[in-house]
């Protein structure tokens, strides 16, 4: 029976710039300046090295469960680099490079994985939300912040991280729908790393791409090679500029891969093949981008080594600082729950303090 086809207006596109070996498609050269180009490399290296160090610290029991970002450095490093300080970055949990770039001290992030609320305290002046554990719940905060920008007439934008698994949650949908309905300056950045713990991407949803989910909300979707730092930078920059100039939201799907474990508590050999992992290791974003910068004459092995040394030293100092910080006061949770401690909590605080003193557990004050 003949029907009218309905024309769908928003577009869904795919973007990649560097090939698997880091060779540039000249026609797509974004002309990123030298300084920024190298800074992006360094940032990705920071993410890689933090990751390695954290897995190490976890194995030694010096922090708790850790969720690595190995293989995904290009996604969050290149995306966050597109944001101005007045913009907001709304985090998930696999973006150590993003925290670093935005000005979070490395030891703050270590404190999160070490079991301290202080790891979720953004430094003054940094407009970020901390690690969000409940999947996709942060998308609504990103939407709300962007709504605030719009209501106040501020010319800023919000970048919001989420995983492929997160797109199944109701919160993702509601955030996308509000963002579309109010035409908000927000970029939803889905790091599609092909897995949500043990569930592969193709079982997460039947839509062929995640980018096309934007059509349900009346705005554009962009799928890009998430292991191509240039593509991420270009695609995100455009989406952010669109947002700031009143063009509304964009959904970016960055195709990448979680090369490592889901968290240090996970055993991926239960559910996926080494072959698949190897395929993606070959597409590692760091050597690809490194090759590109070497071709551009911006890097050579000596420069790389120097950068790496600097990064490692910075991390070593952060670990040192993390571990030498005085133990925090368990009473703090009482003092931070409300602006003023209600009477009932005051008496519970006292009860807790006395118990700890009696039991010789934590130091209190």
């Amino acid at each position: 029976m003949p029907r009218k086809q309905i024309k769908i207006k928003p577009k869904v596109e795919y973007l990649s710039i560097l090939d698997g070996k880091g060779k540039l498609d000249e026609s797509l050269d974004p002309g990123l300046d030298d300084e920024r180009s190298v800074a992006l490399f360094r940032l990705m290296l920071v993410a890689r090295r933090i990751d390695e160090r954290c897995i190490n610290l976890q194995r030694q029991g010096r922090i708790g469960t850790y969720g690595p970002c190995r293989g995904q450095e290009a996604t969050h490093c290149a995306a966050t680099m597109c944001m101005d300080p007045e913009d907001w970055v709304v985090h998930a949990y696999r973006e150590p490079g993003s925290f670093y770039h935005r000005g979070w001290p490395m030891e703050t992030v270590l404190r999160f994985w070490g079991g301290y609320e202080e790891g979720c305290q953004p430094p003054d002046g940094v407009n970020d939300t901390p690690i969000a554990v409940p999947i996709a719940s942060q998308c609504l905060h990103a939407m709300g912040i962007a709504w605030g920008m719009k209501l106040r007439g501020d010319n800023h934008a919000v970048l919001c991280y989420c995983g492929d698994g997160g797109t199944s949650e109701g919160d993702f949908h509601e955030a996308m729908n509000f963002a579309g309905a109010y035409h908000l300056p927000v970029v939803f950045f889905v790091a599609n790393n092909q897995w949500a713990i043990s569930l592969p991407r193709d079982k997460q949803t039947a839509s062929e791409t995640i980018a096309q989910k934007a059509l349900a909300y009346g705005f554009d979707g962009l799928q890009l090679d998430g292991n191509d730092a240039l593509a991420v930078h270009v695609g995100t920059t455009e989406a952010v500029e669109k947002a700031k100039s009143g063009g509304g939201p964009t959904l970016i799907e960055a195709m990448t891969y979680r090369v490592s474990v889901h968290t240090t508590a996970d055993d991926p050999t239960k559910y996926r093949s080494n072959k698949e992992v190897e395929k993606w290791v070959k597409l590692d974003p760091i050597p690809r981008y490194e090759n590109y910068l070497i071709r551009r004459g911006l890097l050579d092995q000596k420069k790389i080594d120097a950068i790496d040394e600097g990064v490692l030293a910075e991390i070593a100092a952060a670990v040192e600082s993390y571990e030498s910080t005085e133990e925090t006061n368990p009473m703090d949770t009482f003092d931070y729950t409300y602006d003023e401690l209600p009477a009932e909590l005051l008496s519970q605080r006292q009860e807790y303090k006395e118990a700890l003193e009696r039991e010789g557990l934590a130091k209190t004050s």
Binding site: D124, P134, L140, W147, A175, N177, Y336, Y338, D339, L345
Partner: protein, 351 residues
């Protein structure tokens, strides 16, 4: 019935209206009018206040609590939203992070569960999680409770869910005047407030409400009637049947009845409760919500902790039973009423 204890004029921006706060004029109004007045006060005095929710704008709220506000403050401050509670609450979190003061409306408390995860995981936690870097001054208003012949999910009372969630204020007014003063205080609070509005009381009666903005402190219960033989403890819509029962006990039995209105259900004002029960030695607690792990059980537990030895009889709980609130044909049967409260009080007195 309401005393002026603990009432104070709203500080911010109120200066222009006359710092002396001379006893100004009053207007007789119902609770819907009083809540509307508080919203209007807040929006006028502080232009970071925004209102959001389903049908709060052009429709003025399904109970008309936001009457005239869209006209007065425009569609950048009164925000009609799509139909999604988690987005309303989670969006309000974002607005608050960005420095606005959102007042989010849930159309009925029975639909707030669609956004409960945002309350538990974020609204209640952001201040402690970020060690004070971010706080969430926001109010989530919602009508609760039975008595208006509404459909399923429109009559429940589940204040205990919120009272059991650390990091929130759970506030429930009982009269037009305290509704206005508590809502204004909630909006001015630096902490997130769940504001339950007793819909059965929306239009049930009127009270004189000062024209000047007025706030009451959060976290304080009120002794609304003094007495020495027994303490009746209630809040919200249950204050009316409770006060009726008190009248009956006084008039018919010659008993001296003390009545406490919690006003802030959580964090609870233990002292006002235990001081009263230490004096009277007897108590009945009254609420609409289910009995198990309800506010009543918490009151009993605190009295036991603080004043067990003053107790001369078991404390009775006149509450919703541990079944779902009935469809409306039987709601009148189900809801605590003056007879039931008075009967329990007599049993406690006769113990």
């Amino acid at each position: 019935m309401m005393t002026n204890d603990g009432l104070a004029l709203a500080p911010p921006n109120a200066g222009a209206e006359g710092a002396e706060h001379e006893k100004g004029s009053m207007t007789l109004m119902n609770m819907v009018g009083a809540l509307n007045l508080a919203l209007d006060d807040a929006m006028r005095m502080d232009d970071t206040v925004v209102l959001l929710g389903q049908d709060v704008g052009r429709d003025e709220g399904v109970f008309r609590v936001s009457a005239d506000l869209l006209d007065r403050y425009g569609d950048q401050r009164v925000l009609d939203t799509p139909l999604a509670e988690a987005a309303i609450i989670g969006g309000a979190v974002g607005l608050a992070l960005y420095g606005l003061k959102p007042i989010a409306e849930m159309q009925f408390s029975g639909f707030a569960y669609q956004g409960f995860h945002q309350v538990e995981q974020h609204v209640a936690r952001f201040r402690n999680r970020t060690r004070g870097r971010f706080s969430l001054p926001m109010v989530i208003r919602m009508p609760y409770g039975g008595g208006i012949r509404a459909l399923e999910h429109h009559s429940e009372s589940r204040e205990a869910y919120y009272a059991h969630t650390p990091g929130l204020y759970m506030v429930i007014p009982s009269t037009p005047r305290n509704a206005r003063a508590l809502l204004l205080a909630s909006i001015q609070s630096k902490d997130p407030v769940i504001f339950y509005e007793p819909k059965a009381s929306y239009r049930a009666f009127k009270e004189q409400v000062p024209d000047e903005p007025e706030v009451m402190p959060l976290g304080k219960a009120q002794v609304v009637r003094e007495g020495s033989d027994i303490t009746l403890i209630a809040y919200g819509a249950m204050m009316r049947p409770t006060l009726e029962a008190a009248d009956e006990l006084v008039d018919a039995d010659g008993v001296s009845v003390e009545v406490i209105d919690l006003l802030t259900v959580s964090p609870m004002d233990t002292e006002t409760i235990t001081t009263s029960v230490a004096k009277t030695g007897r108590a009945v607690v009254i609420h609409e919500g289910p009995r198990t792990c309800g506010i009543g059980s918490e009151i009993v537990a605190r009295v036991v902790e603080e004043s067990l030895m003053y107790l001369e009889a078991p404390i009775r709980r006149i509450t919703g039973y541990d079944v779902q609130f009935p469809y409306f044909a039987h709601e009148r049967d189900f809801l605590p009423n003056p007879t039931r409260i008075a009967h329990a009080a007599r049993e406690v007195l006769d113990f």
